[in-house]
């Protein structure tokens, strides 16, 4: 309403400029948090090192340029293949590894996902990126197991096991879509990866977190549609 008049819809008097700005800022916060399905703003994040982040983004961009099927990360602007008016909100999630228990032969990596996203989205694709540093002159075998907590959360079961033959240093990828998809139904969505490596190998999880070869998972998720059509 113009100054001095009443709003024809709500009957409120026009707000003073300062008050109006406060109201609009509060509205902006509320609207963004609601659309991101967040009850409140996340507390101070622990960002990965800049080098790890740039390496991951570079890796994804390289992946995107030679596999158009997987659109990759951080596209500029809206998702082009969604019809106007039909957009289902999509998320691209980049989760860096956290170290778990390890022995000379096996290393555990943990990848966490937020409960809010897990509860309101469904996974379309998820890929695990691992970097192997100079394994030696001969090709070596590595076993990668995806572990999942059982419903009681007391034990873990092997969701899948993959044998990998690593011949030279570099990045390798593994499809972990089904494992992450089943996580998204659980209370604490955390993917655990067990790597069984030859005795004399160094761990693929760099002890120095600022290292640019930190393993990561990139997942593409889509908001669940609010209603489901049931077939009778």
């Amino acid at each position: 309403a113009a100054r001095g008049e009443w709003c024809p819809a709500c009957g409120m008097a026009a707000l003073a400029p300062g008050t109006q700005r406060d109201v609009l800022l509060a509205l902006a916060k509320q609207s963004i948090l609601a659309k991101l399905r967040l009850p409140a703003r996340p507390s101070a994040p622990q960002p990965p090192s800049r080098r790890a982040l740039l390496t991951a983004l570079r890796r994804l961009r390289a992946q995107r340029s030679d596999t158009s099927a997987f659109p990759g990360m951080l596209r500029d602007g809206p998702v082009p293949h969604l019809r106007p008016g039909m957009e289902l909100q999509e998320y691209e999630i980049l989760s860096f590894a956290e170290s778990g228990s390890s022995t000379s032969r096996s290393v555990h990596l943990h990848f966490r996902f937020s409960r809010e996203l897990a509860g309101s989205t469904e996974i379309l694709q998820a890929t695990l990126y691992l970097f192997w540093a100079a394994p030696g002159p001969r090709a070596q075998h590595v076993t990668i197991r995806l572990l999942q907590p059982d419903p009681a959360g007391l034990n873990v079961t092997v969701a899948s096991e993959t044998q990998l033959e690593v011949q030279r240093s570099g990045w390798t990828t593994l499809d972990v879509g089904p494992a992450v998809r089943s996580l998204f139904g659980q209370e604490t969505p955390r993917l655990t990866v067990e790597l069984e490596v030859p005795e004399d190998w160094e761990s693929p999880l760099p002890t120095d977190h600022s290292d640019s070869h930190r393993p990561f998972v990139v997942a593409q998720a889509q908001a669940r549609t609010s209603h489901r059509i049931r077939r009778r």
Binding site: A2, P8, L24, L25, L27, A28, K29, S31, I32, K35, L36, L38, R41, P42, S43, A44, P45, Q46, P47, P48, L53, M73, L74, R75, D76, G77, P78, V79, E87, Q89, E90, Y91, E92, I93, L94, S95, F96, R112, F113, S114, E116, L117
Partner: protein
């Protein structure tokens, strides 16, 4: 659409920029630096109904009949967004994962009278 400015009281798009640094959100929102929460404000008297934008897709003849029929009731139309676009956000979630999403229909590009 018309951007608000000057002293016209007709339906227009009012620009409003929320600086994330100003509201203390710059630590968890990586990009962009702020949000253009533009909104529509202003009057839509009867002779403005359907000008410009949203109502332009109505059959003008029908609309004129409605105008004529409701002239006595002096019913105004509403000032609403006619074009919107997504807000692309890159942010840390509470597990410090990096998330990118496009929230549809968050930025008003133009306004018009229904």
């Amino acid at each position: 659409g018309v951007d608000c400015g000057g002293d016209s009281r007709m339906c227009c798009r009012q620009e409003f920029f929320v600086d994330f640094k100003e509201i203390g959100w710059e630590d968890w929102i990586i990009q962009p630096e702020g949000y253009h929460m533009n909104y529509c404000a202003g009057l839509c008297p009867l002779h403005m109904a359907g000008i410009p934008g949203l109502a332009a897709s109505f059959h003008t003849a029908v609309l004129n009949r409605i105008k004529a029929a409701s002239a006595a009731a002096a019913v105004d139309s509403c000032c609403v967004p006619t074009q919107r676009r997504p807000l692309s956000l890159l942010y840390y979630d509470r597990d410090s994962n990096i998330v990118k999403t496009d929230i549809p229909d968050m930025i008003v590009d133009s306004c018009g009278c229904t």
